[in-house]
């Protein structure tokens, strides 16, 4: 689960990590009022940032530096009345309903700081770099020596000596070191206590020296947090931060029925049991020249009702011109799927070609059910193996000529 930057900032601030002052707003007037407050408080620069779950905001014009309330009004109006389109958004872009208005700060140097799960070693890892403010993937690819990784002991978590080691290694100086160490330890505690899968501060900056801070101040400017979906049951407060407006409506409905569904751009709907087989079914469609419209795993113990809902979701997608059902019955019994197909024929109706490939537990009973319901399923074709099924559905939806 992802949260917005303004929510991550709040979590950081609560964990005593210094962040520039600011607030989340949902209207142009509120953005103007917040800007006015910040300017009145002595700040000379204010940054307005759209709060969406996609990168590329700066280039798309959805991060703006402003110096007056007039500029703030203009920026907020633009962001709240246009959809943001970037390489990371769907082609139609994302609607922006929330803005972060924060004090702009002068930056002396920028760092990268994150904690994430190192799958290969089964540990959590602190990652730091002096190359802050840019995409860390790029740094990792071009100059991997500039990335420092420190594994966390699974039972003890991040220890102060490790944080000090990393702080010195990335080049914090003088009084910055202690501030950076505090931030790292707070970040590690936040990671642990929320069952996060990623907590990232990028950039973590140092301000230019001033009278009260001869070595500058260490501040978190932007943050990205992801949480383990499997652990949300014990973090109601985190679960409540989810912004459902950005989740596809069909994906949400699927989730309610215990189905795992991801919408894609193609025209062949797939209904499969098991995540690996579901991915492979998409792959084999592509291999035979088709384009999958979705990933859908009905799971091992889906009821007839849930499977019927799966058909409803897929047939409700206007792009879908054919459906491939691929079931290898294990716990999932083939006759349950067959009954759901007949059910769906009655309640939703199949106007598009339907190719069914069943194998495994109770397959004979399932084939009989489908044979008996032939009248109600005029568009159905039975395939005996995976390759035949993929060929059939691809040729059924192929545009003639």
């Amino acid at each position: 689960m992802k949260i917005h930057e303004y929510q991550a900032r709040e979590l950081l601030a609560n964990a005593t990590v210094p962040v520039p002052s600011g607030a989340m707003v949902e209207t142009v007037d509120a953005a103007v009022a917040e800007t006015k407050d910040l300017l009145a408080g002595g700040d000379t620069l204010v940054v307005i940032k759209a709060q969406v779950h996609a990168g590329g905001r700066g280039k798309a014009g959805f991060v703006k530096l402003v110096r007056s309330v007039e500029e703030a009004r203009e920026a907020a109006e633009f962001m709240l009345s246009n959809r943001m389109v970037s390489p990371q958004t769907p082609p139609e872009g994302l609607e922006v309903t929330r803005l972060l208005v924060a004090a702009g700060v002068d930056i002396d140097s920028e760092f990268y700081l994150a904690i994430t799960v190192d799958r290969a070693n089964g540990t959590n890892t602190l990652i730091a770099s002096a190359e802050g403010g840019v995409e860390i993937e790029k740094v990792a690819e071009e100059t991997p020596e500039k990335i420092i990784k420190e594994p966390l002991d699974p039972r003890l978590g991040l220890q102060p000596w490790q944080a000090r080691k990393v702080a010195f290694a990335v080049g914090f100086k003088g009084k910055q070191v202690n501030q950076a160490v505090k931030t790292m330890l707070a970040l590690a505690e936040l990671f642990r206590s929320t069952d996060a899968s990623l907590v990232e501060i990028n950039p973590l900056i140092v301000t230019p020296p001033d009278e009260s801070n001869p070595d500058g101040r260490v501040l978190a400017i932007d943050a990205k947090f992801n949480f383990d979906d499997n652990a949300l049951f014990r973090h109601r407060d985190i679960a409540a931060l989810a912004d459902l407006s950005e989740t596809d409506a069909s994906e949400r409905r699927a989730e309610e029925f215990g189905l795992s569904y991801v919408a894609l751009d193609g025209n062949i709907g797939c209904i499969v049991n098991g995540a690996g087989l579901a991915m492979s079914t998409m792959d084999i469609i592509k291999l035979h020249g088709g384009e999958p419209a979705n990933f859908l795993d009905v799971g091992g113990s889906a009821t007839e009702e849930a499977v019927t809902e799966a058909f409803r979701i897929i047939l409700g997608d206007d792009k879908v011109q054919g459906v491939l059902v691929n079931i290898f019955g294990g716990i999932m019994q083939c006759d349950t799927i067959a009954k759901a197909i007949v059910n769906a024929a009655g309640t939703v109706g199949f106007e598009v070609p339907l190719v069914v490939r069943l194998e495994g537990t109770n397959v004979d009973a399932a084939r009989e059910i489908l044979r008996d319901a032939k009248q109600e399923l005029p568009t159905m074709h039975a395939a005996t193996d995976l390759t035949e099924a993929a060929r059939m559905v691809c040729s059924a939806v192929a545009v003639p000529g």
């Binding site: 799960v117 799958r119 290969a120 089964g122 540990t123 959590n124 993937e137 990792a140 690819e141 002991d153 699974p154 039972r155 642990r192 069952d195 899968s197 383990d228 979906d229 499997n230 652990a231 049951f233 014990r234 795992s260 991801v262 894609l264 499969v272 049991n273 098991g274 995540a275 690996g276 087989l277 579901a278 991915m279 492979s280 079914t281 998409m282 792959d283 084999i284 469609i285 592509k286 291999l287 999958p292 990933f295 795993d297 091992g300 113990s301 290898f328 019955g329 294990g330 716990i331 194998e359 495994g360 537990t361 109770n362 397959v363 004979d364 193996d385 995976l386 390759t387 993929a390």
Partner: protein, 321 residues
């Protein structure tokens, strides 16, 4: 021969009175697994629907039955604890079927398991492990088997013991996916290739036994002629395994990677099936495997034929050298 389990393995089910635990305990019994009991805290002293003894703790179950393997169906919030309880009781093969265990629980469990070097964790979020038994009667789904051991939720009848395999060959299967494993097993059985042991290592990012450890076990097992490894998007396990195979494996390996059409950044069902960067796409993994000399199936329909080809090639190379 086989790895990890055989017809003598004594198995308990943790969570035996839950709906899934009860259903699959019956399935394992029907396959011929030596199911010897189960645990449900508070129901110790009772019998389950199959007449198996129920114990309050795994330690009691081990003492009462001599169990050396367990199948865990405990719900996600408590499953990590169940794994550790099994390890502490001296169980050697811990098969965690449960899906949805928090990753941080698994990180702590893995660290704690280093105190129990004899305990092998399979999963979580996996179909389990099976060493097929010999078919004694019946056909297809009605067939009955003897001398095998099925710990998990896979349909037993699709598997073939070496004695029943028309080619006389038998392979090992290691897979991150459940139903895709069945597909591979089915295709091999149809071609007369038997299986020594099939291990579902699970779809979670942090798990127990991984490709390399199991490849090593299969390489040591005299009855295993080759291995199919089935991976998917996310993580570096397949790439690490590819390098290990190139440097160490003496037997042929055929591989398949699911998720070539998966979009980046989206979780595809499994918690671990998510493309994080350029290295963990299906294409990157397939390339790495091929660079290490491993036969990679393009299509999931070619799992059996690829394994067959890899076995033929190894045989031909052995006879000419």
């Amino acid at each position: 021969m086989s790895i990890l389990i055989d017809g003598n393995t004594k198995v308990i089910c943790q969570g035996i009175t839950g709906a899934s635990g009860a259903f699959h305990t019956k399935g394992c019994l029907d396959y011929g697994t030596r199911m010897v009991g189960g645990t449900t805290p508070g129901k110790g002293g009772q019998k389950d629907v199959n007449g198996l003894p129920i114990f309050d703790t795994v330690a009691d179950a081990v003492e009462g039955t001599g169990a050396n393997a367990t199948m865990i169906f405990v719900p996600p919030p408590f499953a990590g604890d169940a794994i550790l309880e099994a390890a502490a009781a001296g169980i050697e093969v811990i098969c965690a079927i449960t899906e949805g265990i928090p990753t941080q629980d698994m990180i702590r469990v893995r660290a704690a398991l280093t105190d129990f070097p004899n305990a092998h964790l399979i999963g979580p979020n996996c179909p389990g492990v099976i060493t097929p038994g010999k078919r004694v009667a019946g056909e297809g789904a009605q067939a009955t088997f003897q001398g095998g051991c099925k710990i998990g939720i896979m349909p037993g009848y699709i598997h073939t013991a070496r004695e029943d395999a028309s080619t006389g060959r038998a392979i090992g299967v290691i897979s991150r996916s459940g139903t895709l494993t069945y597909e591979a097993v089915w295709q091999c059985s149809e071609r007369g290739i038997g299986q020594t042991t099939c291990v579902g290592i699970g779809g979670d990012p942090v798990k127990g036994l991984n490709f390399i450890e199991l490849l090593g076990m299969f390489d040591q097992d005299p009855d295993t002629d080759g291995v199919i490894m089935i991976g998917e998007i996310g993580g570096s396990d397949e790439a690490d395994a590819a390098e290990w195979i190139q440097g160490n494996m003496t037997k042929p390996v055929a591989a398949f990677i699911a998720g070539r059409t998966a979009p980046p950044g989206k979780r595809m069902g499994h918690a671990g099936a998510i493309i994080g960067g350029a290295d963990d796409t299906a294409d990157a993994k397939m390339t790495r495997l091929r660079e290490c000399g491993i036969l990679v199936a393009e299509s999931p329909a070619d799992l059996g034929s690829s394994m067959s080809a890899a076995l033929d090639l190894a045989e031909a190379t052995a006879s000419t050298s």
